[in-house]
């Protein structure tokens, strides 16, 4: 689609969304999964799910559907996951499929990459992505580049997942957003779920995708409750990569955001509406590689203002990328320079008040919207 977009010029009408990855790559006949009911029934078959439950269900379904899928990581089995995302999986699928690894990220990441090269579909869990820095060479050099280096001979169907980004009160080494790092690597796909539906659909799509995919979750979202549609509760639910979701429609300003910042932006948008009656459109990117430039441009064409909200370091970050793309593809439609709200350029401090100053929050976003719209 992108190749039809002309920089700073005409916008090409929406093409149909690409076919869902799974139909093309599904190698195994689907067996009906025993889906445990995880949430509370609400109207229309919609149920409340935490993001944690959604991820757990996605893993359980994919383990059920495809014997090539296995989960490996620190504390994923007997301890039920450091953040309980893999709860119950050992009991249900046994220790061949759900494997506790030693604390040796570079080693077990490399090992799962090898298993993927040999045709298995590993889900390699990092307790958090902070620790994946120990293994980033395996992710980038062994997983992401191999298909290309082999001239297309050697695929690597692997999913790297775990919490990423801001975590509360854990200081500099345990609270960092790696979206931009992975998002810059050709050969990787990178998704950043916010809601329970995002989490389930994107993780399942990641496991089914024949390429290496990083699923960048967020610890603070794990316990958040979201409605899950009936369709999303099914075991064939996947979310195609590269399609952003308009979480809130609006005409006055476009916020492009991801992960935890989606929720913050929605709160800010509601508040600003109450105060000033303006309508902010909030776009949840869902995946950052591929990135849905089309939806962004379409929205900017309507609102003429673009704000990116993300929580990574500002330099060379997701916000920088969104703004550059806005410049390249939507310059003609912008009434004012696009802006970004990011994490501050500082290692995460421990003390709460300082930490508060280091990451976006609802009121900062709200004030910035007001400023951009001169309210």
């Amino acid at each position: 689609m992108l190749r039809f977009l002309r920089p700073a010029s005409r916008f090409v009408s929406a093409a149909a969304a690409r076919p869902v990855a799974r139909s093309a790559f599904q190698l195994f006949p689907r067996v009906p999964a025993i889906i445990q009911s995880q949430g509370y029934a609400t109207e229309g078959g919609v149920k409340d799910y935490t993001v944690r439950d959604a991820l757990n269900e996605a893993l359980a379904e994919e383990l059920e559907l495809n014997p090539k899928v296995f989960v490996l990581g620190e504390e994923v089995a007997q301890y039920n996951g450091a953040y309980k995302v893999t709860k119950g999986l050992l009991d249900r699928f046994g220790d061949k499929r759900v494997i506790d690894s030693p604390i040796t990220e570079s080693g077990f990441c490399g090992l799962t990459v090898g298993a993927a090269l040999a045709g298995l579909h590993p889900v390699c869990e990092f307790m958090t992505f902070n620790f994946a820095m120990q293994a980033i060479d395996q992710i980038v050099n062994s997983a992401a580049k191999t298909h290309y280096m082999s001239g297309g001979i050697q695929p690597c169907n692997i999913t790297f997942r775990g919490p990423n980004g801001f975590a509360a009160g854990v200081a500099a080494q345990h609270s960092q957003d790696y979206s931009a790092w992975y998002g810059s690597i050709p050969g990787l796909k990178v998704v950043t779920p916010w809601s329970a539906e995002d989490a389930k659909g994107l993780l399942k799509a990641a496991i089914r995708d024949p390429n290496p995919v990083c699923v960048l979750e967020n610890e603070l979202l794990y316990g958040q409750v979201f409605p899950m549609s009936e369709a999303a509760q099914k075991d064939d639910f996947v979310i195609p990569f590269g399609k952003a979701k308009i979480e809130r429609a609006g005409k006055d300003l476009t916020i492009v955001t991801l992960s935890r910042c989606v929720g913050q932006s929605l709160v800010a948008a509601e508040n600003i509406k109450k105060k000033y009656g303006v309508e902010v459109e909030v776009i949840n990117l869902r995946s950052i590689k591929p990135l849905d430039v089309e939806s962004i441009v379409k929205s900017v064409k309507k609102t003429h203002r673009l704000l990116c909200v993300e929580s990574g370091f500002p330099a060379f970050g997701v916000g920088a990328e969104i703004l550059a793309l806005g410049m390249e593809y939507a310059f003609d439609y912008l009434d004012a320079p696009a802006q970004r709200i990011t994490g501050a350029e500082v290692p995460t401090p421990y003390a709460q008040k300082l930490e508060d100053m280091s990451f976006p929050n609802e009121s900062l976003i709200e004030n910035y919207i007001a400023k951009m719209l001169r309210l």
């Binding site: 301890y79 604390i103 854990v170 200081a171 501050a344 421990y350 709460q352």
Partner: protein, 408 residues
């Protein structure tokens, strides 16, 4: 089996052959029970040296002559050691309370049960030697010269905390103490680097580089081993084997749980880490050994953490309550030393009670002071200071928005 492979290998060094016959003869096994230790002719004076004999279950060696099973000490020193362990425990108890009161944020890893390691190590080093460890660092920070007030202040995120509220529970630094590191295993090569600097500068000092049984499997630990041996660095690698890495028992993470043998080509020494005197004797010996140019050692301190991995882990899902109770009631390092001090007539029940009371009161007073200290003001200056060395900062750091940019 592992040792046999080495024994018959042809890279034999004279040291090893000797050591081997000796260790096989000795046939001692380390337990965390220090019951058989004794001391005779304890002088009346507090500062007059005398000798204590360690339990014969204090050490096990790998390719190494065992350290002496005797330790020269004074009554004063023994009482100080006791005082220090009581202080560390009291401080950790305060942290436990403050965490439960929600005054400490994030992760908080306590060393309750493991006090003999930090205290024993400190009492065999000088301030010119170095220590580096992981996130379970409060006791080490205290022993290396941090004050209770500054350590607890850090836990509380106070401006006068040991790291000015920037580091929190996992990141504490002091002279000769290089943290306080959050990435499991990463501190081990860094520790080798500290030793490299000692050698480079011609210091006659040692670096103690600590890591857990879980951390021992990180590749970079072995990379550090290799360089340290290759370049004969004065480093004492030290595995604090508290039997678990989070919820994973040592034998579920490690192909060889004899952590002191993991240096393969490096001699090793397993120590009863619940006996502070054994720890002191081992590290003292290790320091002499490595500063004499004999190269690095791998120590294993066999110990036990009473609490969960961190405050959010109840610590009872992967081990039995009985196990914890048994360790607490029969192997406790503080109770163990106390019993010896009484048996040896180093001190009296009353004096120990007074030490207990004084140590606790001192800790409690400092904790109260720490609680009264203010957190850092929410100013950009406080936020952006110290990203770079003062005077060498970038012109500015970017804020969350352009308007928040901070210009130095």
């Amino acid at each position: 089996m592992f040792s046999r492979t080495l024994r018959t290998s042809h890279v034999a060094a004279p040291l090893r052959n000797n050591a081997f016959s000796r260790t096989t003869l000795v046939k001692r096994t380390v337990t965390t029970d220090a019951a058989t230790a004794h001391a005779e002719a304890v002088p009346a004076e507090d500062t007059k040296p005398f000798q204590v004999t360690l339990s014969d279950e204090s050490f096990e060696t790998y390719e190494l002559d065992p350290p002496p099973y005797t330790l020269n000490t004074t009554k004063k020193e023994l009482k100080q050691i006791y005082h220090d362990m009581v202080s560390v425990r009291r401080m950790e108890m305060a942290a436990d309370r403050l965490y439960k009161e929600k005054k400490i944020r994030g992760f908080c890893h306590l060393s309750t049960g493991q006090e003999a390691v930090a205290v024993g190590i400190e009492h065999s080093l000088t301030k010119e030697d170095d220590v580096i460890t992981a996130y379970r660092c409060h006791g080490f920070a205290l022993m290396r010269g941090g004050t209770v007030k500054s350590i607890v202040g850090e836990l509380l995120g106070r401006r006068e905390g040991i790291a000015y509220g920037k580091g929190g529970s996992m990141h504490m630094f002091a002279k000769g103490f290089y943290g306080g590191n959050g990435i499991v295993g990463a501190q081990v090569p860094v520790g080798a680097g500290l030793a490299f600097a000692h050698k480079y500068k011609g210091n006659n000092n040692v670096t103690v580089a600590l890591y857990g049984d879980g951390a021992s499997n990180q590749g970079q630990v072995f990379e550090a081993f290799n360089m340290a041996k290759l370049w004969n660095l004065p480093v004492l690698f030290g595995c604090e084997n508290n039997k678990y890495g989070m919820g994973t028992a040592a034998n579920r993470s490690s192909a060889l749980t004899d952590y002191y043998k993991r240096g393969q080509y490096m001699p090793g020494l397993k120590v009863n880490g619940m006996d502070v005197l054994a720890v002191k004797a081992a590290v003292q010996h290790g320091k002499e050994y490595t500063t004499a140019g004999n190269g690095p050692l791998v120590l294993e301190y066999v110990t036990y953490r009473y609490g969960g991995h961190s405050m959010s882990d109840p610590g009872t899902t992967y081990r039995t309550r009985e196990e914890i109770q048994r360790m607490r009631s029969t192997q406790d390092p503080i109770a163990g030393l106390k019993q010896k001090l009484l048996e040896w007539n180093v001190t009296t029940e009353e004096e120990l009670k007074r030490i207990d009371k004084d140590a606790r009161a001192a800790v409690d007073a400092e904790v109260a002071e720490a609680e009264a200290m203010p957190p850092p003001d929410a100013t950009p200056q406080n936020l952006y200071e110290d990203i770079y060395v003062r005077g060498s900062e970038l012109p500015f750091m970017r804020g969350r928005t352009l308007e928040e940019n901070y210009y130095y």
